[in-house]
Structure formats: C-alpha cells, structure tokens
C-alpha cells in the first residue's frame, strides 16, 4: 500500500473541517462575524462588546487548556472546575483571614503566599489524579469524577456553600484591570497558552503526550516512562485550573464552591471544535484559541440578542454533537 490516494474535494473539506485546521476556523470566525454584524448591527462592533468578550474569555481559555491536555493524552479531566473552585476558596480564605490589618511587605507577602497556596492545592489534586490514573490504572473519567466530587465536597463542607468575597486591589486587578487597553486577564491567558503550545510542539514531553494519547503501550515499549509523563500532565492540567481560579476569583471578587459549573461543557466543546481528537493524540493550542474566540463571539451575540442562558446551554450541547460528528460524517472514522 503506497500513500493514501488523492482526496476528492468534498473529502478535503470534511477533512479540514474535522481536523479543525486554523484556516477553517478563521473562515468560520469571519463568517460568524459577518452574520452577527448583519443581524445585530452596530452594537456588535462596539468597543464595549469587544472588551467584555476579552474579559470573559481568559478564565474559560485557561480551563480549556487544562481540559485539552487531558484529552490529548487520551483521557478527560472532569475535575478542573471543582479544582479551580477549591483552589480559589483557599486563596480567598487566606486573603480574608490575613489581609485585614496588614501593611507594606506583609500585605504583599500575604497575597503572594495566598496565591501560592492556591496553586499548591491545585497541584495536590493533580497529583492525586495523576497517581490514580497513571500508577493505579483507573479510568480517567472515573478518577476525575471522584476528585471532582472530593473537591466540591471539601469546598462545600468547609464553606457550607457560602461565598468569600472582598479582596485587595492587586488581586482584583488581575481579573479586571487593563494594561494599555488590554485586559490583564487576557495577558495571563497568553502567558499560559504560549508555554503550553511551546511545550506541546517543541519539547520531548509534548511529543510523548501525543504518542501516549494515540497508543500508550507502544510508547512504553519505545522506552518512554509513560506513567511519569501522565502524572506530570495531570498535575499541569490541575495547575492550569489553579491559574484559572485566580482569574475567576479576581474577576468576581469572590470565591464559591459552585462557580462555573456550566463551563465544563464549554471547555470540552472548545477543545473538540478546536481540533482536539476526543480519542487522543491530536490537537493544537492555536486551534483551541480560535475555537474559543468563535464560541465567545457566539456567546456575546447571544447576550446581545437577550437569549436565555439556558437556551445557550442547549445550543452549546447541539454544537458539540455537530462538531464531534463531523469527522465521521466524512465516511472515515478515525478510530
């Protein structure tokens, strides 16, 4: 069998759409922009709209990165939201406890340590996930379902569902401030996306993640310590959830055990739309970011049209089905 035969035009389009290449997504984005401009008009192009989009996107983007990492390895991380909330509550608790009355160096120190503590909590969850998935061999769905319940349970148990709010200015800036007109949160997203992209594309670790996602056993036979890679990967995924926690807590100026639960669906949607293969082994950060922009545009348009948030949820679900089905409608199922 020599190389695969030349694809017909229809096959090519389906292939492009299914693999979510950058070109297709850019085209989709432009198309959507045009459609919404016509349908909604001036309001859509206002600076306000753009700015509000730019503020909402980062936390979702960072969480989507976290989900993407797990998907690439052939797994799933259902615990990212719960981890973010637990991490956020840790930070909020420490801030609420130690900020009042502190000044100067101590004031800065508390904030830094609080954030560090939040990261530590996230990393711990990641360690549990990674250990149970990689070293005990439990299915990622089940494991992260368990840690999700654990984190949420811990958060509820400790806070009884209450909200902790009111944080110092520098923290609030992270979620709401701008630097030369660009929301700081967006910069945080970029600071996460760029290293992750670099890691996936240009480091040995990244290459191993993709290979494990396609065939873990063969990767192991090639001398790769797949268990160590998976452990690190899930820690990284949870750390990203921790970063998202900081952004979320900053933007809402509060932390709670149940924030962002509807985000879970959207992170999976963003990943799959962005070209991540739900079975593992394929997907790029660039595609994910473009998919996020597309989703954000759609979401803002829905907002401007005063669409009910529940209808929006249903539509997200429909889009997820449609997007996940495309590679298979072309005829070839990439099992």
């Amino acid at each position: 069998m020599r190389d695969a035969p030349a694809l017909s035009l229809r096959r090519r389009i389906v292939h492009l759409a299914g693999s979510g290449t950058i070109a297709t997504l850019v085209l989709l984005l432009i198309a959507l922009w045009v459609v919404f401009a016509i349908a909604i008009g001036d309001r859509f192009f206002s600076v306000n709209t753009l700015q509000s989009m730019a503020f909402q996107m980062p936390e979702l983007g960072i969480l989507s990165l976290a989900m993407m990492l797990a998907l690439l390895s052939g797994g799933l991380n259902l615990s990212i939201i719960a981890t973010a909330n637990l991490s956020g509550l840790t930070i909020a608790f420490l801030l609420a406890r130690y900020i009042p009355g502190s000044e100067g160096v101590a004031w800065v120190g508390v904030q830094v340590l609080a954030i560090a503590a939040g990261f530590a909590v996230a990393a711990l969850v990641g360690l549990v996930n990674g250990f149970v998935i990689a070293y005990l061999g439990v299915s990622p769905i089940l494991t992260t379902l368990g840690t999700m319940t654990l984190c949420k349970g811990l958060a509820i148990g400790l806070t009884r569902g209450n909200v902790i709010s009111g944080f110092p200015e520098p923290i609030v800036f992270i979620g709401n401030g701008t630097v030369f007109g660009v929301p700081f949160a967006l910069i945080v997203l970029a600071l996460c996306a760029l290293p992750v992209a670099l890691m996936l594309n240009a480091t040995p670790f990244g290459a191993k993640v993709y290979m494990i996602g396609s065939n873990e056993k063969a990767t192991r036979y090639s001398g790769v310590d797949t268990r160590a890679v998976l452990l690190k990967l899930y820690v990284l995924s949870s750390l990203l959830a921790g970063v998202a926690a900081v952004v979320m807590l900053a933007r809402f100026n509060s932390a709670n055990a149940a924030y962002g639960e509807s985000y879970l669906l959207v992170t999976i949607l963003a990943a799959v739309l962005g070209g991540v293969d739900p079975f593992g082994g394929f997907g790029k950060v660039g595609g994910l970011l473009l998919a996020l922009i597309i989703l954000q545009v759609i979401s803002s348009a829905f907002n401007l049209l005063n669409l009910s948030q529940f209808l929006t949820l249903a539509i997200w679900g429909g889009i997820l089905i449609a997007v996940a089905a495309v590679p298979h409608l072309g005829g070839k199922a990439p099992r």
């Binding site: 799933l76 549990v128 149970v132 005990l136 061999g137 439990v138 299915s139 769905i141 089940l142 494991t143 379902l145 368990g146 840690t147 999700m148 319940t149 654990l150 984190c151 949420k152 349970g153 811990l154 509820i156 148990g157 009884r160 569902g161 509807s262 879970l264 669906l265 999976i268 799959v272 739900p278 079975f279 009910s308 529940f310 209808l311 929006t312 949820l313 249903a314 539509i315 997200w316 679900g317 429909g318 997820l320 089905i321 996940a324 089905a325 298979h328 409608l329 199922a333």
Partner: protein
C-alpha cells in the same frame, strides 16, 4: 456436586460483592452501636424510600455500563419526563397507568437520541451524554422558565400504601410507591440481565465488541435498547421522586448524577464494560445510603456528605483497579 458448590463459593469469596457485603455489615454494626437510631424500622424504611430515586437510576446506568457505554444525562431526562408528564396529568387528567406510560415514553425517546448519537455518529458516549445533558436541561428550563409545579393530581399525591402492617401502635409500614417501583425495577433488570438472551448479549458486547459483531449480534439494536432502558428508568425514577417530594422542581435533579454513578461503581461495575451485577448495584446503593445516613446520624453536617462520597468512590475504584492488576500479572504467568 459438592465440589462445584465449593468452587462457586470460592468464586463468590473472591468477588467484589463479597467484600462489599463485609464492609456493609461492618458499617451497619458500627453505626448500630454508635447511634441507636440507625437500626430502627423507621430509619431503614425512610432510607429505602428516599434512595429509590437513585436506585432506579443506578439500575439503568448499570445496564449502560455493562454494554460498554456511559450516560450522565439521565438527570436531565428525568427532569423533562417529570415536568411533561405531570403537566399533562394536571391539564388533561390521568391515572397510574397513563402517567407511567408517558414518563416511560419520554424517557425512552430521549434515551434513543443518545443511542443514535453514540452509534450512528460515532461520538464517544461520555461526550454525547455531556452534550445531551445540557441540551435536554437547557431546553427544559428555557421553555418552562424553571417554574415549580406544586399542585399534583390528588391520587398521585396520595400515592399508594400496600400491605400495610402495624409495627408499633403509632406507626404503620407498608409498601409505598417508591419501594414498589424500586423493587420492580430491580426485578425487571435482574430478569433482563440474567434470564434473557438479550441481556447476555449485552454482557457479551461489553466484553468484546468486535467478537459480538463477528458473531452477528445486532450492535445498533442492542445499544438502542440499552440507552432506551436508561431513559425508561429515568422516567420511572422521575415520577417516584415527584411523588416523594410532592412537587416537580425542574432545576433540582440535575447535579445528582454523582450519587447514581457512585452507587453503580461501588457495586463493582466497570467503565470498560462487560462487568457488573444487579446484586452488586444493590450493595453499592446500600453502602451509599448507609454512608450518607451514617454521616447525618453521627452528627456530621450533611454539607460533608459529597466529600465522603467522593472519597469512597476514589478508594473503591483504586482498590478494584489494584486487585485487577494483581490478577492480571498472576494470570500472565502460566
């Protein structure tokens, strides 16, 4: 033959269900000692009644897991079934038969949708069910505005109370709707999985989908059956819940998926497919109920309940995976 009976006891002793039984008995003993309220008829009766919802759903999920799939959209399916059925019952009048028929019909239809997405579009079942959960729930709340229904048909609100007997002079016990539905669901599921060839085909398909296809099993038909069954169970459970709560609250059921998954997983069903028993699910449900009840009776705030459930799930699946590893390395050597 005494030898084969010994062999089957040996098999039971090594099974997941055996250890579960031990843990449950130990917990019961411990709790019974720690709190005199636990081992009372009243408490056990109440437990059975309040866990019927989770139990019926767990049976549906069990069948899906055995077939090799997964479904977490059942709470949304149940919400839709509940709302539509009781709205219709209020508007046009109904009786026990028609009300269950409608709920089962809606549940089955929504389940069929899941099956089509998984089989015909070849999307991983976890992603399908995350999507359909949001589609069903989103549309439900959009169209109904999330309004509760407080007035139910009188006959429905009263429920049933069969085989009434007096335990003490103040209280009487009997089979109420919840217990009846739970028992019937257990029986039907057990019959399906152990006494019909279709049930065995489901086990086979979950164990080796390729072989099932080669042998000529109707894969799409089996999947359709399995997801519809889940939907049907969701429909039944939804009515049971509505009757217990004496209201329909469309926003309340979604979020309870974890308890159901916990019951099934604790009972030994595997996400890989082909593994799981009705008895195991019963034990898993019992363990879950005892755990959560125990937490309350011991005076721990019920806010801590999800935490302990998560902990127990993690420990249980880790232990199962660990013992499976051991068995695999042992059987690899001749």
């Amino acid at each position: 033959m005494p030898e084969s009976r010994l062999a089957s006891f040996g098999r039971f002793r090594r099974s997941h269900e055996f250890w579960l039984l031990i843990v449950i008995l130990a917990l019961c003993a411990g709790l019974g000692v720690a709190n005199s309220q636990f081992l009372t008829m009243q408490n056990l009766f109440d437990l059975l009644t309040s866990y019927a919802f989770v139990g019926i759903l767990a049976l549906g999920l069990l069948v899906v897991l055995i077939a090799g799939g997964i479904d977490i959209s059942f709470t949304a399916t149940a919400s839709v079934a509940q709302y539509v059925t009781l709205s219709v019952a209020n508007a046009y009048g109904a009786n026990w038969i028609s009300v269950f028929a409608i709920a089962i019909g809606i549940g089955g239809a929504l389940g069929a949708l899941n099956a089509i997405f998984v089989q015909k579009l070849r999307i991983p079942s976890i992603i399908v069910s995350v999507a359909t959960l949001n589609i069903f729930y989103g549309l439900l709340i959009f169209f109904t505005g999330g309004k509760y229904i407080y007035s139910l048909p009188d006959w429905f609100a009263t429920g049933i109370f069969w085989f009434e007997f007096d335990w003490s002079k103040d209280t009487s016990y009997g089979v109420n709707l919840q217990i009846l539905a739970l028992a019937v669901s257990f029986l039907v599921t057990w019959l399906l999985l152990n006494r019909t060839n279709i049930g065995r085909q489901i086990y086979a398909m979950g164990g080796n989908a390729d072989a099932a296809q080669r042998l000529g099993f109707h894969i799409f038909g089996l999947n359709m059956l399995v997801y519809c069954y889940m939907g049907v169970m969701a429909g039944i459970a939804s009515l049971v819940q509505a009757q217990l709560a004496q209201s329909v609250a469309p926003t309340v059921l979604v979020g309870k998926e974890l308890d159901v998954v916990a019951a099934v997983v604790l009972g030994g069903a595997s996400l890989m497919g082909g593994v799981g028993t009705v008895f195991g699910t019963f034990l898993g449900l019992a363990l879950l109920a005892i755990l959560q009840n125990g937490i309350i009776l011991l005076g721990v705030s019920s806010y801590w309940s999800p935490f302990f459930v998560g902990l127990v799930i993690l420990i249980s699946v880790s232990a199962t995976a660990w013992s499976q590893r051991e068995r695999r390395t042992r059987s690899a050597r001749p």
